[in-house]
Each structure stands twice: as structure tokens, then as C-alpha cells.
Assembly symmetry: C2
Homo-oligomer: 203 residues x 2
């Protein structure tokens, strides 16, 4: 018997357990969200419902905000896929200003669809994506670079436009309380974003 | 002896106690912030340091975020005073675009000076100022109205510009780690805000 395989076995098994626990916790959290609402998804509540120890939940997510951050991650990846390789103007192949407008419209819909999760993923002790930048920051910065605006500090403009796009729901606006209201808010925000982009991009 | 005065005495004394407790808790929280940092200011930590029960802290502030919200309130009022009746262009008496630029510059400095407190005052379960709007939203909306921009939805533009102004520090940017870096970020953000306002306001 090869002892090195045995030695390697334990950590490998632990990693598989970790992946299984994480998936089980995320599935449980989604169930709790759908049936009980975001308020009930706490470290203790999730551990109890998942039948795992609080320590396990803490190791996987670090904080309550971390649970929601993880829930958001999967959908963020699907969203990013659309932006990187979906059809134009959201995907590649249109003029930068048109892509900025299309991106804003798609992002506003994404945010409305994830209002509670995105809010709960906010962590008062650190930025949304410290250092690397969010999907929105990176994409808006890229498009601003292509738009040839004559602005000296495109990085700062990208941060400010990202905030203009994502900040309203994260910071200032309440969740629309029925589907009609949500549609109206979505349309108003998309129109407002389009106007903002056109004013910034006009020569 | 007039029994009605005795009957009224108890609630009045309780209100005086409540005011005293609140002031004592806020003073204690400021001390903790200055000497230990925002992380240590928790419901339990504050109650212990102030020598009061956790129930009292809960009744006064409702949540940890509520403590920071209350700390911010006093300084917000002083800031608002400058905007309402201080010298132009921050105060009244200049053109709307100049006042927007001056407001942004002042607000960016305010935010940098309150980075930890403003972050910790965020509450993932509700907007910063549900319903009534924040100082920034109300003021920016007023100035946009005076600027005669030909924009259909000034309320939405005001929310989006408020987010562009306040969102970067609340959501995306880390705290500058020394005074020089803070000055540079403050100047970059102020320049970026000026550029944004000029592009939105040009005819």
C-alpha cells in the first residue's frame, strides 16, 4: 500500500466535504429565502435548518453578508456571461454608448430581481469588491475607454457611473411592493440611465 | 397635593432619563470610535462600556447600524446648515451648476471625514433614508430643478447623481490608508464630480 496516497486522502476527503457542505448550505439558504424571506437567513438560522454546526457556516461564509454574497455569485456569473458573449448590444458588436445603455438596462433588471439578496450582501466593514472592482466597474470602465470622451480620469468616472447605476437600489430606494410598481421603477431607471449616458457621451 | 402632577411626573422623568442615556451612549460611542475603531462599537460593547443594559441600547438605537446613524446625525445637521445658509457657492447665491459642483466637493470631504461611521450606518434591510430622501437627494433635486436641463424625470436623475456622489465611498472604494492618499482621492473625486455635472448641465 502506497502510504503517500493515504496521507493525501484525508485533506482530499475534507475538501469534498467542504464542497458538499457549501452546496447544501446554499440550497438551504435559497429555500429559506423563497419561503421565509431574507430576514430569517441568519448564521444561526441557516445552520439549524441545514443541520450543520454554526462553525461550519462561519467557515464557509465568514459572516451573514457572506451567505448572500455567495448566493449572488452564481447569478452574477450567468449575467457576466451574457455581457461577455451574449448578443449585441449587451454583448460585443455595438457602439460603446449603445453598449453602456444596454448594460445599464440589463443591470437594473438584474438588481431589481436580486433586491433583497444584494442589499443583505452589503458588508458595512468593507467595499463590495475590494481591490479587483465589480463586474459593473470593470465593464463600464472598458466601454468608457472605447467611447473616446476626452475625460482625464476614466477610472473615477467608471466608479461614479457604477454608483449611479447600482447605488439607487442598494442605498436609496425601497423595494417596489408589487410587480407593476417594479416595472415602472425599472423603466424609469433605465430611461434615466440612458439620458445620463447620452449626456456624458455627446461630443 | 395635586395627584395629576404626580401622575404626569413619572413619564416626564423617564423622558429626561432617556435623553440623558442617549447623550451618554453617544458620547461613549464617540470615545470608543476614537480609541478602538468602529469594529468595537457593537450593541454589547457599547452597553458594557457605558454601564447600561443592552436593552437600553436597543431601545435607543434599534440596531448596531442605528448607533452610527445617530452619530452621523449631529454632523449631518451642521453640514446641512452650511448648505442652507452658509456662503455661496455652497450656500445660496450662485448659479445652479456652480452650487452642484460646490455641494459635491463639500459632500465628498464630509464623506471622507466620516468614512467608517457612514459605512457602519448602512443597514442591509432598509434604505439610508426611506421615504423622505437624504440631504443630498433633496438638495441635488432642488438644484437640478433650477438648472433648466430639459430632463423629463428630475427625481430619478437626482437619485442617480446622489448615488454617483455618495456611492463610491459607501460601496466601492476602500478607506485611503494615509492622509496624503485621502487628499488625492478627495481631489480626484471632486474633479470627477465637476466633470460629470458640467457634462450633464451643458446645453
Amino acid at each position: 500500500m502506497d502510504r503517500s496516497l493515504v496521507a493525501l486522502g484525508a485533506p482530499r476527503a475534507e475538501r469534498a466535504d467542504a464542497v458538499r457542505n457549501r452546496l447544501h448550505l446554499l440550497t438551504t439558504a435559497r429555500e429559506m429565502l423563497a419561503t421565509q424571506g431574507a430576514d430569517k437567513v441568519t448564521m444561526d438560522g441557516l445552520a439549524e435548518r441545514a443541520g450543520l454546526g454554526k462553525g461550519t457556516v462561519f467557515r464557509r461564509f465568514g459572516s451573514r453578508a457572506g451567505i448572500f454574497h455567495a448566493l449572488l455569485d452564481d447569478d452574477e456569473r450567468a449575467f457576466q456571461e451574457q455581457v461577455l458573449s451574449g448578443p449585441a448590444p449587451l454583448g460585443p458588436g455595438a457602439a460603446p454608448a449603445d453598449r453602456l445603455i444596454a448594460y445599464g438596462r440589463a443591470r437594473i433588471a438584474f438588481q431589481l430581481g436580486h433586491y433583497d439578496i444584494a442589499r443583505a450582501a452589503l458588508d458595512g466593514t468593507r467595499p463590495i469588491a475590494a481591490g479587483e472592482g465589480t463586474i459593473s466597474q470593470v465593464h463600464i470602465r472598458m466601454l468608457l475607454g472605447l467611447a473616446d470622451l476626452g475625460v482625464a480620469d476614466l477610472d473615477m468616472l467608471a466608479v461614479q457611473l457604477t454608483a449611479a447605476l447600482e447605488g439607487p437600489f442598494l442605498l436609496y430606494l425601497s423595494a417596489p411592493d408589487h410587480a407593476d410598481a417594479a416595472l415602472r421603477v425599472e423603466e424609469r431607471m433605465a430611461q434615466g440611465w440612458e439620458e445620463l449616458v447620452l449626456r456624458i457621451c455627446r461630443p
